[in-house]
């Protein structure tokens, strides 16, 4: 077993409330990285970086993938992976912006997007849990099929949100307390995700199913059903993300969300969630996502090459995983 003397007691307890300070320390590296990036922004582009409009831009940019990242965190903690998120979001946006759906008004468009997302997620989940397919394969199939269906439905054309449904667009262009409403949607999803993961039996089961499925089963947890619900939850988040992207771009399109799955997975991994499941936090994922978004923002503001931006992101993933492995070794 492990050597008792090198254990550092009191460090990594799962979301223990009274150990808030400890929890923050766990994310200290991520916060420092974020602060460093902000500093870079302040130094290199002082006149544009710390402006209200830029903060709004960053948060609005983070909102779409951020909502998806919350769902992805659940799936990965539960021992799976969801490659279909970007495609499912695109499909939901297309379905919600067809003229038929739009004729019922913005409320129905929102409901449609959420239902399409959840339905696609549950279908992937069903294939994985009851069809015993590997998550990677099942969600890869969903990725391809959802994009194809989105192209069929839209005839590969970008579908505009009709003027009569501009209430949807107000979610992005309007301001509440100086921020677009989609930022509050993002915040609400994060808070709800945190509560569900840390304060409900659903969250506890998610850790158990990802950490030791056999033990979860012996404890009486319906592992298959729970796994299916996790992908349903991820799909639900894609549906909400579809609403956000329709508001931001005023369109529904089969090309929305290209490669979002990679950004979301990267954010979750940088945030300290284990790809093997059983361990991870929402807070870490969101910090990971903000780091990614801030890098994009800095590259754009500095007028740098987007290819270099991808290289930088790749490096950050590698560094994050290497650091994670070191801290894991000291924990166990």
């Amino acid at each position: 077993m492990t050597n008792h003397s090198i254990r550092r007691p009191g460090r990594p307890y799962t979301g223990a409330g009274l150990l808030g300070a400890v929890g923050r320390a766990r994310h200290l590296g991520l916060v420092l990285a974020l602060a460093l990036l902000a500093l870079v922004g302040l130094v290199t582009v002082p006149e544009t970086f710390a402006t209200t409009s830029n903060v709004v831009t960053v948060l609005a940019l983070a909102a779409t993938i951020g909502v998806i990242t919350v769902g992805m965190t659940f799936v990965i903690i539960g021992g799976g992976i969801d490659l279909s998120v970007g495609a499912v979001m695109a499909l939901a946006s297309v379905w919600a912006t067809t003229l038929a759906t739009q004729s019922y008004g913005p409320m129905v468009m929102v409901i449609c997007a959420v239902l399409v997302g959840t339905g696609a997620g549950l279908l992937s989940g069903f294939l994985i849990s009851y069809g015993r397919m590997v998550p990677f394969i099942a969600t890869l199939a969903m990725l391809v099929a959802a994009r194809g269906l989105a192209e069929r439905m839209s005839d590969r054309r970008t579908q505009l949100v009709q003027p009569g449904n501009s209430a949807l667009v107000d979610l992005s262009s309007g301001r509440v307390l100086g921020l677009p409403p989609i930022v509050f949607v993002f915040a609400a999803v994060v808070v709800a995700g945190w509560v569900v993961l840390n304060r409900t039996t659903f969250g506890r089961r998610t850790y158990a199913v990802g950490g030791n499925p056999e033990a979860a089963k012996l404890a009486g947890i319906d592992v298959r059903r729970h796994t299916m619900l996790l992908y349903g939850l991820s799909g639900l988040c894609c549906g909400i993300a579809a609403v956000i992207i329709m508001a931001r771009t005023t369109t529904g399109s089969s090309t929305h969300g290209d490669l979002y799955e990679l950004d979301a997975i990267a954010a979750v991994i940088i945030g300290g969630t284990l790809l093997t499941g059983g361990r991870g936090t929402i807070g870490g994922s969101i910090l990971g996502l903000l780091i990614f978004t801030l890098i994009t923002n800095l590259f754009i503001l500095n007028g740098l090459n987007t290819s270099d931006q991808l290289i930088a992101k790749g490096l950050i993933i590698v560094i994050a995983v290497l650091l994670q492995r070191r801290s894991l070794r000291s924990r166990t």
Binding site: M1, T14, R199, Y207, N212, A216
Partner: protein, 253 residues
């Protein structure tokens, strides 16, 4: 029920059979376990001990035969059903989630929640307090309830698993090789725990490969071979040699 102690019988398996494909895992197995006794179940690997235990604890459903518990016929569809009836199992692999803490494992899938309308939130404080009381009753190298199971020693893990099995007003505690992975000292402590369970009135069904342990702890021994129950003895009336003979088939019942 000619047995004068018949009413003390808590678990009564009658002609339990189970087949996996072409493998006859259990063939007409009948045995009993009594309150206030440690009942040992012995046999070679693959004799069907764990399969029988899995039937009793609701993981498998027998193809035929009956399992009576506390005088009533059972039809468990899940481990939860068995648990609700008062049957707790300490599985061979302990069935703990290493990344969760001691208290989270103790309350896994039986969390205490507080309801706020449609929302049910975990009552962490109540669970931690109760977990602390549960583990402190062990008196064995008490683990801190907020530490992750990953950090515990083998004996502490076993203690947590036993604690989970006994802390929720169970009647029958099934233990599958509880000391197989433990050192001498830890084994002694876990044996103390098992004896204490018996003295508190639990029925204990003990699966063990350790004959010295079986002879030391149990009051009744059942022997299984190739899916069949091939013998049963009161521990006081038998010897280790006879049990070994029954296990290997050198002695026919």
């Amino acid at each position: 029920m000619s047995n004068p102690n018949g009413r003390d019988i808590l678990l009564d398996c009658r002609d339990v059979s189970l087949t996996f494909g072409s493998v006859r895992a259990l063939v007409d197995v009948s045995l009993t376990a009594r309150r206030g006794e440690i009942t040992a179940l012995v046999g070679d690997n693959g004799a069907g001990k764990s399969t029988l235990v899995r039937c009793v604890s609701g993981i498998h459903r027998p193809d035929s035969g009956r399992i009576l518990f506390d005088g009533e016929e059972t039809a468990f569809h899940s481990p939860e059903d068995a648990r609700d009836a008062g049957i707790e199992t300490v599985h061979q692999n302990l069935a703990l989630v290493e990344d969760l803490t001691v208290w989270q494992n103790l309350f896994l899938n039986r969390e205490i929640v507080r309801r706020f309308g449609p929302v049910a939130l975990l009552d962490r404080r109540a669970m931690q307090a109760r977990a602390k009381r549960m583990v402190s009753a062990l008196a064995v190298n008490v683990p801190e309830v907020r530490s992750r199971v990953r950090r515990l020693s083998g004996g502490q893990r076993q203690a947590v698993a036993i604690c989970r099995a006994t802390g929720f007003s169970s009647k029958l505690v099934i233990m599958d090789e509880p000391t197989a992975a433990l050192g001498v000292q830890e084994t002694a402590r876990v044996e103390e725990l098992i004896v204490r369970l018996r003295d508190e009135g639990h029925a204990v069904l003990l699966i063990s490969h350790n004959f010295a342990q079986v002879m030391r702890l149990s009051q009744q021994v059942w022997v299984m071979r190739a899916g069949r129950r091939v013998g049963g003895r009161r521990t006081a009336d038998t010897t280790g040699e006879e049990i070994v003979g029954l296990i290997t088939g050198a002695i026919e019942n």
